[in-house]
Symmetry: C2
Subunit: 337 residues, 2 copies
């Protein structure tokens, strides 16, 4: 009894040139599509997250209210539910799974929205982190279809520093001989734990650790936070899936496609949607400066950082109620425009 | 023909309770000790650095001028020249090398200064990064002896976030099976390279990478910077030495000793030296906020960040001439007080 549906896409050709045969896009919807089909919100997933990891921002009385909106959460390719290294049959299984870009992901999501539901306008696209990257991509890929975007804690183009951070995550995971270039039978747990510890310093800010906020959220010590939160988080994931999504992230660039030919400013300028661009004020790998630049090149964008010491986790997944309210309030404001 | 000397210390007992037998403190001096013995500068080394890595801040016309001062660069234990995992005979070799704290290191340096040279006053202690940690420790351990300190890009106490960063470095290095719990015969190169990539994101700021400053300093691409600068840097080091110094760093706390019994504010308050505390404005693991707090608890300290986008490397090792001048000017100013 799964709580989600599968859109069977047939064979899909990727930007990289590979074809995923019998591709699957897993998604979950909330609420009801109205007759005018004008109450649609698309809410893509983040790095390693699955649709249920997005649900903290959905609820009656919230901006993403299923009583008013038809909310679609599409699972990113590589996340273990949509086509991924872990669920694709030979010969494109495990480390042979091809690179999927955000441009690809959004094209697939566009097929879902139009072919399955016959939707022509989207009231809002929003998402955290890599979900924000897909949100920007939606705005650039379908500027006449997307009316509003609110990407939070993510960028339209992966910065050089962010790329280096991802190199470090990858290096830690793949230093484990058990990874075996992706052809493992048992999970490379040492590498997953190492990756988790690398991620730990980046995910939350220096101030979060200085104030020991982990002690207020169910963790009994720093080491308990590193083991129970961070190592537990990544041990539950498949290594090849993590590497596939990491590749997607590293390639992040809304202009790296035939529409814009690598002209990043042109792609930003083409986003017609009303936008609030919302970084975490203390995010260490999606720092506000990158978003500030992006917002300045978009015709209808407001730049509004989340005033939080939760670093990247100011944006999710719903751990800090103050930040959730800040994001939810902005979503309500944008939807009312 | 080595360019340094060895102070044979005999058997030294550490805070941890272990004894290093026939301990060695490697050091190099510049200039001449004057008759009054009042022209002494002590300049400890940083994580993995050796005395020659400090020499960029020493020279005629600079603050650390060998024509005026007698400059002593003591090598930190664990750095491969002073007693270290790599040069200590069985049974305390390799991963059995005991933990050495900054308190221990400074006590050894104090023995060098007093027993070998008969020095009673030190005009200045200065150092970068872990050298700054030893600088703070000098101020707290010998408050009546040290007249001035200028720690740059380092803290008096390793912060929780900094500790996590070091966990990540350690996890990446030790994920390599070739490390073999420290009992390797060939270097664990995969782990050293992984560690290097983890360090890469932390060593320089987001803005440094955004502006691609590595292209102006001898590197032809981002990947060339990661391989030639970062991987090359750590491949030249011994893994157990790196882990020994990492332990020293993680324990950093000038008050964790019988003098202060863990009372950090008391230790800061006891530092009589005239001080300029100089973080890098964009340092990601020694952020200015920690130094600002420390300076506020010291009776004679000024807080003066280095206005640089070079992150931790604003402080060394001499790569950016603008930052070098900023530090050198402050050293001159402090020495004139």
């Amino acid at each position: 009894m799964s709580d989600y549906k599968i859109f069977a896409m047939g064979d899909v050709v990727l930007q990289s040139g590979a074809t995923i045969r019998d591709a699957k896009l897993a998604y979950k919807t909330f609420g009801t599509l109205n007759a005018a089909k004008d109450n649609v919100i698309v809410y893509p997933t983040w790095y390693s997250g699955q649709h249920y990891d997005n649900e903290w921002l959905v609820g009656t009385g919230m901006a993403l209210d299923p009583d008013k909106y038809f909310i679609i959460i599409p699972n990113m390719f590589g996340n273990g539910l949509s086509s991924s290294p872990s669920n694709t049959p030979e010969p494109y299984n495990q480390s042979r799974f091809p690179g999927v870009t955000s441009f690809d992901n959004v094209n697939f999501q566009h097929r879902l929205v139009t072919e399955v539901f016959g939707i022509e306008k989207i009231a809002l696209v929003t998402g955290w982190s890599m979900g924000a990257q897909q949100t920007f991509q939606w705005g650039a890929s379908y500027p006449d279809m997307v009316e509003r975007i609110l990407p939070f804690c993510g960028s339209a183009k992966t910065s050089v520093h962010n790329f280096v951070f991802l190199e470090s995550v990858k290096a830690a995971l793949t230093a484990d001989a058990a990874w075996n270039n992706g052809w493992y039978e048992k999970p490379p747990t040492k590498g997953l734990r190492a990756m988790a510890r690398v991620y730990a310093g980046w995910g939350f800010s220096q101030a979060f650790y200085r104030e020991k906020l982990y002690l207020q959220h169910g963790y009994s010590s720093l080491e308990d936070f590193l083991v129970a939160f961070w190592e537990g988080f990544f041990l539950a994931r498949d290594a090849n899936n993590l590497l596939a999504m990491l590749w997607t992230w590293q390639q992040g660039d809304i202009s790296n496609n035939p529409m814009y030919g690598g002209d990043f400013e042109k792609a930003l300028g083409a986003i017609k949607a009303k936008a609030i661009i919302m970084p975490g004020q203390t995010d260490l790998y999606f720092p506000p400066e990158d978003n500030e630049y992006e917002a300045s090149k978009m015709p209808n964008a407001e730049f509004r950082p989340i005033p939080s010491i939760w670093g990247h986790f100011a944006g999710g997944p719903g751990m800090n109620k103050v930040d959730v309210k800040f994001i939810d309030d902005a979503l309500k404001e944008l939807l009312a425009r």
